[in-house]
Assembly symmetry: C2
Homo-oligomer: 232 residues x 2
DNA sequence: CGCTGTATTGACAACGTTCAACGGTTGTGG
DNA sequence: CCACAACCGTTGAACGTTGTCAATACAGCG
C-alpha cells in the first residue's frame, strides 16, 4: 500500500522538504486508524514507534505517582507525537488516548536518528516543533503560577477553540468530546470548580455547555476575561 | 583570540562531535564575562546571539502582562541558552540575569541555521537538549497542578541541590545567591509562604537558611517529604 | 549612617478544594 | 426493549490551605 504524498505535503512539517525526501519518509511509514477510546501508546511502555497525526484528536496525559492525572497536551492534525527519542527516552513519558476518530502515520523508532541525520530539514522542523511545545509549556507554567482559576480556564478554552474550533451557528464548537474533568486536568484544578465556572459563563452568555460538549459564543468577552485583571 | 577546544570538549553537547567540527564552531565564537546582576539579554529584545554557559549561573525569567515574574529555568554550566531560533522566534522570550559570576560563549544568531544544517550531530544534541527542557517543564506543570505548596518547594529545592549543590560541612550548599522570592517564582507561590515553609524546615533540621543562602542538611528526609503523601 | 532589598511573623480573608447528594444521559446486557 | 449501571454534570455547605495585608527586623552598601 503506497501512501500518497499529497496527504502530507501541505503540512508545515514538510513545507520546505524536497518531494524526494518526503517520498523516502513515506515509504517507511504505515498508516493506522485509531478508534475513540483506544490508546496509541501507554505511559512507561517501550517507545517502539513515532507518529504523525493526519486526522482526529488525541490527548496525551501523565499520571503522577499519587495517581492523579494531568493532560500534557492535545494532539491535533499535523502534529508529530510519541517522539520519545527526541527526548532521549526509551519509553513513552505519557499515554496517548484517542478522543476523536483518528488516522496516524507510524514509523519504527529506529528510523528516527537515521532520518534526522540524513535529513537536516527534518531535524530543523522537528526541533522547532519541540520548541513550540516548550513555549506552550512555559505559557502554561506562567498561567498556573500567576493566574486564578477562572482566568486559567478562560485561556485553556480559548486555546482549545483556536486549535479545534469549528464554526457552528453563533459560535465556535470544540470539535471533540471534552469533559469538565479534562478541562480541570488542563488547568490544574478540579472538575467541580470548572463546572461552576462554566455554569456561570453560560449564565452570562459566554459559552454553551452540554455533556462532553462546549460551544464558545463570545470569544471577545472571553478573551477580555482571560486578559484583563477584572471586569467582563 | 583563539578558544581552546579543551574548554568544551568534555561537555555532553559536544560529546560525539568530531574535533574538526568543534574547532569550526569555536572559530566563530566569542567568549564573554558576565557580572552578577547583568542581563545577557532582555525579554522582547531582538535575538542577536545564542550562547553556551561555561561557568556561573543565570536565571531566565518572564514577566506576565500583569507584571508578575516567573522563573523559567536556571542556566547551569554546559547549557545552551538564548537559542530563540530553535523556537522560531526573532526575539528573546525571557530575560537572562546573571546570579553568579559567569563566562559564556556567544555566537551570532545567523549562524544557528547554518551550523545546524551542516552539522547533524549538533542538530540532534540541540534537539535532545530542548527535549530535556520540555520534560522538565512537564514535570513542573505536573507538580504545580497536583501538589501542595510544601511539596513543590521540596521538589524545587531538591532540584537546585542536584544542579547546583556543593558539599559543605554537613550538607549541600546551593551554590549561588537565591532569595525566597526566587523560590516562590520557581514554584508558583509567594515569598511569604516560602519563608514560612523554610522556617518550619529549619526548625526540623532539614535545611539551614540565611540571607540569599540555602543549605540542605537532610536530603533523604526532604525527598521523603517531597514524595510521600504525608509524614516526614 | 541611612537607605534599599531581604526575611520573618501574625492576623485575616478568600479562593478553591473537599465532601456530599442528586439528576440526567448514554450505553449495555438481560 | 427495557432496566440498570456507569459516566457526566450540577450545586450546596464546610473547611482549610494559602494569599493578602501589615508591621518589624536585619543585612549589606553607598
Amino acid at each position: 500500500m503506497k501512501l500518497d504524498i499529497g496527504l502530507v505535503k501541505h503540512l508545515p512539517l514538510f513545507a520546505d522538504m524536497a518531494d524526494g525526501d518526503i517520498e523516502v519518509m513515506l515509504s517507511h511509514a504505515v498508516s493506522r486508524r485509531i478508534a475513540v477510546g483506544d490508546a496509541v501508546f501507554d505511559q512507561g511502555s517501550p517507545a517502539s514507534h513515532f507518529f504523525l497525526l493526519l486526522n482526529g484528536r488525541l490527548k496525551v496525559s501523565q499520571v503522577t505517582p499519587q495517581g492523579e492525572q494531568v493532560i500534557v497536551r492535545m494532539v491535533n492534525p499535523g502534529d508529530l507525537f510519541g517522539i520519545a527519542k527526541a527526548l532521549q527516552r526509551t519509553d513513552y513519558p505519557g499515554t496517548a488516548l484517542c478522543v476523536s476518530e483518528a488516522v496516524a502515520l507510524c514509523w519504527p523508532m529506529d528510523l528516527w536518528s537515521q532520518m534526522i541525520e540524513q535529513n537536516p530539514r527534518l531535524a530543523v522542523t522537528a526541533m522547532t516543533a519541540i520548541g513550540q511545545r516548550l513555549q506552550e509549556a512555559h505559557t502554561r507554567i506562567r498561567e498556573i503560577s500567576t493566574e486564578d482559576v477562572e482566568r486559567r480556564v478562560a485561556h485553556a478554552v480559548l486555546r482549545l477553540s483556536e486549535q479545534a474550533g469549528r464554526e457552528e451557528g453563533d459560535g465556535l464548537r470544540i470539535d471533540f468530546p471534552i469533559t469538565r474533568q479534562d478541562i480541570a486536568e488542563l488547568t490544574g484544578t478540579t472538575l467541580h470548580t470548572v463546572s461552576r465556572i462554566l455554569s456561570a459563563w453560560e449564565g452570562r452568555g459566554l459559552v454553551t455547555g452540554g455533556r462532553q460538549k462546549l460551544l464558545v459564543r463570545d470569544v471577545a468577552r472571553l478573551r477580555a476575561l482571560a486578559e484583563n485583571e477584572k471586569s467582563a
